[in-house]
Symmetry: C2
Subunit: 115 residues, 2 copies
């Protein structure tokens, strides 16, 4: 596999299995490509909330809007250009705010295999 470039419009957005919120994710690189990383984009409608058991190491880069992550009673909020790191083993609530959000994510190992 050679060097590749991706834009938000390239991602095949779909709801993650098991949740009904307005949160849509689309992988661009994953286990199909032979490498160790999953790469994709996430799109959050306004004021959505999902609970997730993080089973892989998950890095979320906020590109637009704001995202809050609550774990162990503490909340961090990130805006454009900021990064939230969720190590494997975290139980988190991820929330978007009134403007929704766009994120890029990188996980290791692949999260779709692990779910």
């Amino acid at each position: 596999m050679t060097v590749r470039k991706f834009a938000p419009a390239d991602a095949p957005y779909a709801r993650t299995p098991g949740q009904e919120a307005g949160v849509f994710v689309g992988n661009l690189v994953d286990q199909r490509h032979g490498g160790p990383l999953t790469i994709g984009y996430g799109r959050y409608d306004p004021d959505q909330s999902i609970d997730e058991a993080i089973v892989v190491h998950d890095v979320m880069v906020v590109l637009a809007g704001r995202v809050s992550v609550t774990a162990d009673g503490a909340t961090v909020t990130a805006g454009p250009g900021e990064v939230i790191y969720m190590p494997a083993g975290s139980n988190v609530t991820i929330r978007s705010h009134e403007q929704g959000a766009l994120t890029a994510y990188v996980t290791h190992p692949h999260w779709q295999e692990a779910v």
Copy 2:
């Protein structure tokens, strides 16, 4: 390690070993933290160019400006919100343009150990 949030101003920017260009990187998560990922920010002065042998899988999210990566005679250029994936084994030239650039990066395994 619990959930953490980072901003571009948090990174301890320094030149990467072995290059004199105006390209500065700062890790926020790496081998010191026990996980499998390196996470950091990169800051590019205008019109800089570095040649790199990519020894780890390297995901670059462009936050501001534009970055071009040339590998095997092909060049991709990414702007804000776009992602460039450089698999391990790539020999690349990374260039910034007239406005410089800010990037977030995620690598696996840790690139500073591997250099």
